[in-house]
Amino acid sequence: MKKLINAAAEVVPEALRGMAAAHPELRVDVDNRVVVRGDAPVRGKVGLVSGGGSGHEPMHAGFVGPGMLDAACAGEVFTSPVPDQVVAATTAVDGGAGVLHIVKNYTGDVMNFEMAAELVAAESGTEVNAVVVDDDVAVQDSLYTAGRRGVGATVLLEKMAGAAAEQGRPLAGVTEVARTVNARARSMGLALTSCTVPAAGKPTFDLPENEMEVGIGIHGEPGRRRVPVAPAREIAEMLVEPVLGDLDFTGGDGVLAFVNGMGGTPLIELYLMYAEVVGVLEKAGVTVARSLVGSYMTSLEMAGCSVTLVRMDDDLLRLWDAPVRTPALRWGV
């Protein structure tokens, strides 16, 4: 394992210290591992809290700021945060209009956020809603699984729900935006290499030079199946077709198309993949209204990518275009 770290157990607080130094506009509580927008709580605004394991940077702390999240809780690498962190974040961003928890659908994340919500309910009058993101079509949403995972849609949802909150919509309205984005979003991912959890010290799985994992999540888990490596054109089909098969993306106001890098894949490949994804979408009669290309939700240094589509409407387009000012996503301000 070769990484720019000191000690495996200190990776998360030390990286947060770097974030604090680089982004004085954020309040970083290194001990609690909570990153809060500098002017929180914003009076009368719904507070948005997300969080999850670390190792997915810039998600989530890189999305804290006006127009997106009010706070992010950073767990250990690939380990959901603990309830105390979520309680601290919720309290810090409660501006009197309630707080929305944005939770990716993993057993650990769901349970820890649930326990936090129970604690908040017992301790304070803060109204808390939760939305659970589950956009990964690699996983069947059946009684016999933990349900679909939350992956790429999380980033897009945090942006659009964040814009709704910034506009002053009430908790119910912001929650509805979040639910709408989740309902209209689907994703699929693929890994060319594994990644190495610092504390584990060796790659989570071995992947021979001629194979790739299709249907991966964002925690270095093995995927649904292993197939021979393929050209980008075929990979685009492998990723986009199951997404299109799960939800109708034709017509309407077009889609927001997101090609996300898993951390170790250079941008030149992501742009190349994006061209291929657009090709597949065109053939399927799907119009691209907006796009995002880059490494926004990563699995440490894993090489690979995921594709997320969101079926947009007028309101969502306006929310997507609204100003945002965070370390990792910024425009209009």
Binding site: E76, T79, V82, T107, N112, A146, A200, F205, P222
Partner: protein, 214 residues
């Protein structure tokens, strides 16, 4: 011969479990690499090390306080799936066991309550390939042995054997809860990491929850 358990035995159990987790840390993480995200050993070891540090600060007043401390520490230090699950286990154990000295019946009742807490929190069923597949058979074996008149030490031994068998029996199962469920059929053929740490917990009980020779 006193048949009652108190702080020394409770603390012995927890410390024995912490030592076992530390010893099997890499093994637990390796199991989690195969069907999860390679952190179960790290998670449990971080949590149990924090528990041991808390105990080193001085013994709690009674069993209920001790297990509450263990549960709360795990909830606030572990995260992931195992934090809330093991945390809930110990919090419920504390509630059901109460603050008096524990006899064999209390042990069985408290253990059952802990396991029911895991079910309530995680909503898994037997055969879903989770820690429950070690914990539930252990509870059943403990109760059956006590009902058959065996002493607590023997009954806990039977529980440990059942936990180990339950752990091994997760290997051919297809996971239906937790991260491993994402793998579908590819989860078959691997022992569940949570069931493995749960077997360590029951084995630690069998060695440590032995009433002191009075």
């Amino acid at each position: 011969m006193a048949q009652e358990l108190g702080i020394p035995e409770f603390e012995g159990w927890i410390r024995a479990f912490a030592a076992a987790v530390a010893e099997h840390r890499d093994e637990l993480t390796t199991l989690d690499s195969a069907i999860g995200d390679a952190d179960h050993g790290t998670n449990m070891d971080r949590g149990m090390a924090a528990v041991v540090a808390a105990l080193d600060g001085g013994p709690p007043a009674d069993g209920a306080a001790l297990f509450k401390l263990v549960g709360a520490t795990l909830v606030s230090k572990v995260g992931g799936a195992s934090g809330p699950l093991y945390g809930t286990f110990f919090l419920r154990l504390a509630g059901a066991g109460g603050s008096g000295p524990w006899d064999a019946g209390t042990v069985a009742k408290a253990l059952r309550a802990g396991v029911e807490g895991v079910v309530a929190r995680g909503k898994a069923e037997p055969g879903d390939k989770t820690m429950l597949d070690a914990l539930l058979p252990a509870c059943d074996a403990l109760e059956a042995a006590l009902a058959a008149g065996q002493p607590l030490a023997d009954a806990l031994g039977a529980a440990a054997t059942a936990a180990v068998e339950g752990r091994d029996a997760t290997k051919p199962l297809q996971a239906r809860k937790g991260r491993a469920s994402y793998l579908g059929e590819r989860s078959i053929g691997h022992v569940d990491p949570g069931a493995t740490s749960a077997a360590l917990l029951v084995e630690a009980a069998a060695t440590a929850l032995v009433p002191a020779q009075g």
